[in-house]
């Protein structure tokens, strides 16, 4: 019998329904594609309350009305949103019996980074000795934290257990209407972290350093919410220096920080996702919305080291709402081969005597393109606002590009704004000087790059700084010609 197109269409339609409605909850997978049912399903799978489901649905509805933005200085193939699976349980990674089975290239990198053997095993999915299991370490830390009243858990846990807190703050800094990817994230986010520091508490440890292994694999639509209550302090670390071979092409995370009166949040990121191969094939798209709001006398400090991803497009920002609040942004973005980065920050000064500092270092090598894009906005009410920005670019080779697009808007006569940008290359004389003293060219470059990025590296927590420094060296390996 002839098989008509009509019939095929019908079959396809029913097929989708088949998967859409009858998938077993236990299997934890949702068919590829995105529609309202998928959003509902994600919410249901996670056992979320009704307000959360409604919020997701309204975000989704808004998203469908939006257009994908294209103003950035990056070129990439637009992702097909109907070709992504929006929910799957954390990927079960390949298990190896011993480290010998793991890709030797990866091990080499780990060794260079100085990652301990046990952590290496964890990262690559090798079965770990029970005694050395870092999970038990994690549990002890969790106890210490809960004694102080600090909540640190996954966001899905928080939605269930601390709905009041989540409901009060979720979407207040980055509303789902903010941008295309924030709307998408709000509709389909699978998991992420939640952190609450109570009044007057100083978090005794760098959050997430010890959890970094646990935190890995939270999926492509991550949602992070950090709340520092009055007079508290927290230093939060995200990401990992270890290269992660993530197969997800699109990462659209949202991070929201809330610093209440007199609080301080330090948020450090090291991102080293798969940048694609030497010919620019593959690699992760990293489209992240990160923003923090500062209330009176509070401070938010962003530090980021971006070395991975094929396309990075993100602007960790501060809304300086309260008087005397401080926003800081320290960034190193390294691009090599065919990587592209369009990153920077936004400092929105609303309160009186607000201050912001922007230090951005861009290093481009190979055929990569590296852009700084930033906004400093001083509103009329922000008396005596102060901003200092510095963006330096370092070019290696004549096939790469470095760009700066700073936007400065001042609406008040007591504002003081300074902006400086320079572009340079590594001087032949500098390399010659090193060579003369017995340092080979590769090492010399690493030395110079480290010096160039010192101001930012210094802002990273101690143990991270060491790793990040090595990471820079590795990222630029072979870029000297």
């Amino acid at each position: 019998m002839a098989y008509t197109e009509e019939e095929l269409k019908k079959e396809l339609e029913t097929k989708e329904y088949e998967y859409g409605f009858y998938t077993d909850i236990e299997s934890d997978t949702i068919p590829v594609g995105l529609n309202e049912d998928v959003v509902r399903k994600i919410s249901k799978l996670k056992g979320e309350p009704k307000w959360m489901t409604d919020w997701r649905i309204s975000a989704f509805k808004f998203w469908t009305q939006m257009k994908e933005p294209d103003w950035s200085n990056v070129k990439y193939k637009k992702p097909d949103f109907q070709d992504i699976s929006y929910y799957s349980a954390p990927k079960s990674k390949k298990k190896y019996d011993s480290l010998d089975d793991v890709d030797p290239e990866l091990i080499k990198t780990f060794n260079k980074l100085g990652i301990s053997l046990e952590e290496q095993k964890k990262l690559t999915g090798v079965a770990v000795d029970v005694v050395m299991d870092s999970v038990s370490v994690a549990t002890t830390f969790r106890e210490t934290l809960s004694k102080k009243g600090i909540i640190f858990c996954s966001i899905s846990e928080a939605i269930k257990e601390y709905p009041d807190l989540v409901r009060k703050y979720l979407g207040t800094v980055v509303p789902f209407k903010d941008n295309y990817y924030a709307a998408l994230n709000s509709a389909v986010f699978s998991d992420g972290s939640f952190c609450y520091i109570p009044k007057g508490v100083r978090c005794p440890m760098e959050l997430s350093t010890y959890f970094r292994i646990n935190q890995a694999g939270t999926g492509q639509f991550e949602r992070t919410l950090v709340i520092a209550d009055e007079s508290s302090y927290v230093s939060y670390l995200e990401g990992c220096t270890a290269p992660s071979r993530d197969e997800n092409q699109l990462h659209a995370a949202v991070v929201e920080l809330v610093a209440l009166d007199n609080a301080e949040i330090k948020y450090s990121t090291v991102q080293n996702w798969y940048p694609g191969n030497k010919h620019g094939k593959g690699g992760v798209y990293n489209f992240v919305t990160k923003r923090g709001i500062c209330h009176k006398n509070s401070k938010i400090s962003w530090t980021q080291v971006e070395t991975g991803s094929a396309v990075t497009w993100k602007y960790p920002s501060c809304i300086l709402k309260g008087d005397n609040s401080i926003g800081e942004f320290y960034s190193i973005a390294v691009t090599n081969n065919f990587q592209q980065a369009d990153t920077g920050t936004k400092m929105i000064h609303l309160g009186k005597n607000t201050r912001s500092t922007i230090i951005s270092k861009g290093i481009s090598a190979g055929k990569s393109q590296n852009s700084y894009r930033g906004l400093v906005k001083i509103e009329p009410r922000a008396k005596n606002a102060r901003n200092f920005s510095q963006c330096d670019s370092l070019l290696m080779g004549n096939l790469c590009g470095a760009h700066t697009f700073p936007y400065i808007e001042a609406r008040n006569n007591s504002a003081q704004i300074e902006h400086e940008a320079t572009t340079s290359k590594i001087g032949e004389d500098q390399i010659f000087y090193c060579n003369q003293r017995g340092i080979d060219t590769e090492k010399a470059i690493a030395l110079i790059v480290n010096g160039f990025s010192k101001e930012v590296l210094n802002k990273l927590p101690m143990e991270f700084a060491v790793e990040a420094q090595k990471l820079l060296e590795i990222s630029l390996e072979g870029s000297v010609g």
């Binding site: 697009f405 400065i408 006569n413 704004i417 290359k425």
Partner: protein, 438 residues
């Protein structure tokens, strides 16, 4: 009727009077098609993010002047640099005024574009240069191109050094109602030639006038061009100035822009470097108040090695004025050893003044020295205190400091008479009594 519709019908009427078969007309109609398709820029265009034409375009402008109006020299003498012997090309409401002008064909051509477009002896030059660097994908430039009729034509042949500066002055009388003027200038400076040009747009009373001017400057090998723009008009006059400069090997072009008054001023200044060892200089002083709006939009495209560009823009903004600076430096892969510098300093005098600045660098070459700096601030309190402790009243001390802030841009002005003039204009604007001419 919307201004755009009016322009469309005016263009048809304009076409009827022209030789439709000429090359220039081809250019005109092509440009008009572009404008018709794209219309006026809106705030949604990145390049016009901070400057809105919306209000200006609501006026019902006269596109072509109705009649020739003559003015007496004694009424307008103050707008000329009269203490200096110069060539002059003067327009009144867009129409050439032979009485006030002083043109020449002796060794160099200082005359009218309308003459150059129609006479066969200029055909070669027009064909080689006309509309060659003006952007084809800019709707305001296209609009000007499509209505190309009148303007200044300056041709300095090989190795000729123009001994007298050239003044281009556009007067608008306000006697014919609201006007849209679209002058078009073509300036060609051949090898080793030198010229100094002063351009001024001046209304004779306060009325709604919008000027959309396009100037193309070709600076050939080893030539020197010194260009000064004086924008000190009544508070209802607006100007969109599009200047395109193409530079050849070893040439040196300086453009100074003095924006001291007007309702809305937009300066699109584009430098294209097409050879090695080129020097490009852009300097500007902006001093405005009330609800005035000044927007400097500069582009320097470095496409050959070993070139320099230097930009220095200073702005002083009071009342509810708005200042915009958008500077873009583009360095191609091949343009090694480029040295590009850009500086934008601003002072906000009053609480309601606004500055939007966006200095951009786009760099594709590695062996370059590019930097930009941008500051927004106030007068130095300790300097103010120093002056006051020596018995200078606060108001005067402030004025002196403001004057000093702007003054160093003037240092590179090559014509002493002009320098004096600008100096006293600035002093008057700020309220400093110099007591003498510098």
């Amino acid at each position: 009727m919307e201004l755009k519709d009016k322009l469309i019908s005016s263009f048809m009427a304009f076409e009827e009077k022209l030789d439709l078969n000429s090359d220039v007309h081809n250019i005109r109609s092509k440009s008009f098609n572009y404008f018709e398709k794209n219309g006026f820029p809106t705030k949604k265009d990145e390049a016009w993010k901070y400057t809105s034409l919306e209000k200006l375009l609501k006026n019902d402008y006269r596109i072509f002047p109705k009649k020739v109006i003559s003015i007496e020299l004694r009424d307008v003498k103050k707008y000329f640099l009269y203490d200096l012997d110069t060539y002059k090309i003067v327009f009144i409401d867009g129409i050439y005024s032979p009485f006030l002008s002083d043109t020449t064909h002796d060794g160099l051509d200082v005359c009218l574009l309308s003459a150059a477009l129609s006479k066969p002896k200029y055909k070669k030059v027009i064909k080689k240069y006309f509309n060659k660097i003006a952007l084809k994908n800019d709707s305001l430039t296209s609009l000007n191109t499509s209505f190309t009729k009148e303007g200044a034509y300056i041709f300095i042949p090989k190795t000729v050094v123009s001994e007298k500066p050239i003044q281009i002055i556009h007067f608008s009388t306000g006697k014919q109602g609201k006007m849209l003027l679209q002058p078009r200038n073509l300036i060609v400076v051949e090898e080793n030639a030198q010229v100094q040009i002063i351009e001024r747009h001046q209304s004779l009373k306060s009325f709604q006038i919008l000027t959309n001017s396009v100037t193309e400057i070709f600076s050939n090998k080893a030539s020197h061009v010194d260009y000064y723009k004086i924008q000190n008009d009544y508070e209802d006059s607006s100007i969109i100035d599009n200047t395109y400069i193409s530079q050849d090997k070893d040439s040196n072009v300086k453009v100074h822009t003095f924006s001291l008054g007007g309702k809305l001023i937009r300066n699109n200044l584009n430098f294209f470097q097409n050879g090695e060892n080129i020097e490009s200089t852009m300097k500007g002083i902006t001093i405005i108040g009330d609800r005035q709006h000044v927007d400097h939009y500069t582009l320097v495209h470095h496409s050959k090695p070993n070139c320099n560009s230097f930009q220095e823009y200073k702005g002083i903004f009071s009342d509810r004025s708005v200042g915009v600076f958008n500077g873009k430096i583009l360095v191609d892969k091949i343009a090694q050893k480029t040295n590009a510098f850009q500086q934008n300093n601003n002072i906000l005098i009053d609480d309601n003044a606004t500055i939007n600045t966006k200095p951009q660098l786009e760099i594709f070459a590695d062996d370059v020295k590019c930097s930009h700096g941008c500051t927004i601030g106030q007068l130095d309190n300790s300097a103010l205190f120093y002056l006051r402790s020596r018995g200078i009243p606060k108001k005067e001390a402030k004025a002196l400091l403001t004057y000093a802030f702007a003054n160093n841009v003037l240092e590179s002005v090559q014509i002493p008479e002009l320098k004096n003039r600008i100096n006293s204009l600035i002093a008057k604007k700020i309220g400093v009594n110099l007591g003498h001419d510098l």
